[in-house]
Amino acid sequence: MSRLNSAYARSIGIRVHIDAGGREQLLLPFDQRLLGRPGFLHGGAIAGLLSLACDHAMARDTSTPNAALRCITSTLQFLRPGREENVTAAASVQLGKTISTVQAIAWQDTESKPIAIVTRKYLMESTRQER
């Protein structure tokens, strides 16, 4: 099952959006329940959107079931405050033999003005050793 259909993703209202260039993006529609300090989106909600964007892109590009993805690190940079508006996120995958790197950005106005950026590293399933 896709993580986009997970109860968490549904609880924050994530939707898939295809942009004018046919590129898949995730949309997080604004909701009061995404707020942190008054007037601003919670960093954790933005982190949730970016994590899902990376997971979704990684699952798609590697044909890995979502449940089998193994993210090992997340590095998040917050660049601008998230206002009370929708957020869009797009991810790109750099496949590696043992580790893959996925980067995603989240923005409100335009893609060139991101509010947050994440880099997530994933262990490739073929090389994984279960403990």
């Binding site: 099952m1 997970s6 601003f40 960093g43 954790g44 994590s51 993210c71 690190t73 590095t75 917050f78």
Partner: protein
């Protein structure tokens, strides 16, 4: 624990049920002079039975919020701040159906920036993730 001017437990009783923290049902657990412990429920309402994955959005929100409260606790009062960056090492995927706790400690404080480290663990045992974070003050001291 007595802290000079900021009581994270009281703060949480007043504001913790609002916004995103309320949606995820994060709870105050305890605090010291420069650390705070919060918990996330087993997420029965946020998960369907066939889901085995604890959402990273919940994990990171929990860590970020524990870090935020740890800064104010060490500072001794509320001061507006924004998260600058968060580094999360995912050591083990948390299982669904367990209660997750996060400990965050503000280990260094300057006029403008607060440095935090922390970790998330399942009750009484295994670490599932560690945190390194920085926060910048956005308002007056």
């Amino acid at each position: 624990v007595q802290t000079a001017g900021f009581d994270p437990g009281r703060f949480w009783r007043r504001f913790g049920s609002g916004g995103h923290n309320g949606l995820l049902q994060l709870q105050y657990v305890s605090h010291g002079t420069r650390h705070v412990v919060l918990s996330a429920p087993p997420l029965s309402e946020l998960l369907t039975p066939d889901e085995r994955i604890f959402p990273d959005g919940v994990l990171i929100t929990l860590l970020d919020m524990a870090g935020t409260l740890a800064v104010w606790t060490r500072l001794g009062h509320f001061r507006p701040q924004a998260t600058l960056d968060l580094r999360v090492d995912h050591i083990e995927a948390p299982r669904v159906g367990v209660k997750l706790e996060a400990y965050a400690e503000c280990y260094y404080l300057t006029e403008q920036v607060a440095y935090v480290r922390g970790n998330a663990y399942t009750q009484g045992s295994a670490t599932v993730a560690t945190l390194a974070a920085t926060y910048a003050f956005t308002g007056q001291p």
